[in-house]
Symmetry: none
Amino acid sequence: MITIDPRSSTPIYQQIVDKIKENILRGILLPDQKMPSVRELARLLPTNPNTVQKAYRELERQKVIYSIRGKGSFIAAGFKHRIDQEKLQEITENLKHCLVEAHYVGIDQNKIQEIINQIYQEITPIKKRSK
Amino acid sequence: MITIDPRSSTPIYQQIVDKIKENILRGILLPDQKMPSVRELARLLPTNPNTVQKAYRELERQKVIYSIRGKGSFIAAGFKHRIDQEKLQEITENLKHCLVEAHYVGIDQNKIQEIINQIYQEITPIKKRSK
Amino acid sequence: MITIDPRSSTPIYQQIVDKIKENILRGILLPDQKMPSVRELARLLPTNPNTVQKAYRELERQKVIYSIRGKGSFIAAGFKHRIDQEKLQEITENLKHCLVEAHYVGIDQNKIQEIINQIYQEITPIKKRSK
Amino acid sequence: MITIDPRSSTPIYQQIVDKIKENILRGILLPDQKMPSVRELARLLPTNPNTVQKAYRELERQKVIYSIRGKGSFIAAGFKHRIDQEKLQEITENLKHCLVEAHYVGIDQNKIQEIINQIYQEITPIKKRSK
DNA sequence: GTGGTCTAGACCACA
DNA sequence: GTGGTCTAGACCACG
């Protein structure tokens, strides 16, 4: 369900965070569903428990999951986010970086649009629920 | 013309690379135009010459600029890049990361579209040139 | 009467201890009154009997309650504690932590005073009894 | 300047976070001042660099400090905080816990008031600056 | 069993 | 030199 690329330049813990958020958006991970334990996920990936722990801690800080000591970690329900101006700025910067890079290797706006639409299809669950 | 944010998490040399490529796309830097010398740019930003050096090396590696011994560095002409499959993969991953993050802070697809269009306006030169 | 939050970072057994002491201060639990049995309270909360057991042990250690074999646990009478220097130190540290945190999120001294007064109103029983 | 108590039940990294925030409020650490490096502070306390790193990471997340790779960590300027409702709730809970504990060991409201005033004297810098 | 903390030691990218 | 990441292995409190 979650796979990581140990050769990627993006840190493993970051990849874990990303993949889990993606799976939630896709509707694969549902609210209050139990996550694999730190040790279990570490064994599956495989990676070090500390690395998974770091990812889980980050996810908890972002209120994507919540942890109960002795019980495990669970998907948080209802993410009601106010739009954070700083976060918006950061995303815009990152998007610009992507588009400049793409433009530079000869990927034009149409191709980009195509890719974006495809991503949105992936991360939108089939049964659309009203927010 | 180029401004960098030393507090940003993206490395300074990377910021320099990005900004120069962006300026080329915008038509502000033109083919065969002379770049400022390493020391000069380092003094302007301001940053460490080693950092600028690293940025220039990276730009040269990507064939965005070329160097002539004893003369300086110049903008390369005609970016005719075939689409590199690995690069495409990387950009797609990065785009997905952006969109997931955006989705999570409550930025919907329409808003994203708006931002992307704005970016394209920025990075497209006024006098459109055929490649 | 007692509610616990299983998602809180403070351990459940600690929450139970706190709530019981609070209820005693409020005059809701009276001296020599019988406490619910471990199993009963565990069923009510709901939580694990082991957790309630741990809370009761802690309360007994602090002489807040006393147990009679085969009868149950009861609220201790007259909390006449001399001021323990270590405990005082601990409370002072904890208070400082609270005030620093408060200061940092923009809660000023007046607001803090207001909150403290409100708490004292809550934990003071209506019929004031001389100790 | 910073001392930690390795026997305390509060984690070392948390103690570091607290002490640094306290020192900032006291006016001992000033905006844009350089912090000791991760390794240096670890050597001074003494503790493990990873523990200090964890503290610094947390401080950076809270925007109390900012880090520049290759340069070091620095005190952030101007903490303009909106009052977070959840944080307020957490602080109130924690304060209540303190007051109940205090009440229980025989520290009355007057004594508490005295302690609080003393803490406020400590954490308020001599030259009061308008926020 | 669970998550939380800490240590020791390593490697990397960056300035 | 700096901070950032990762591994291996340990101990603890909690439920």
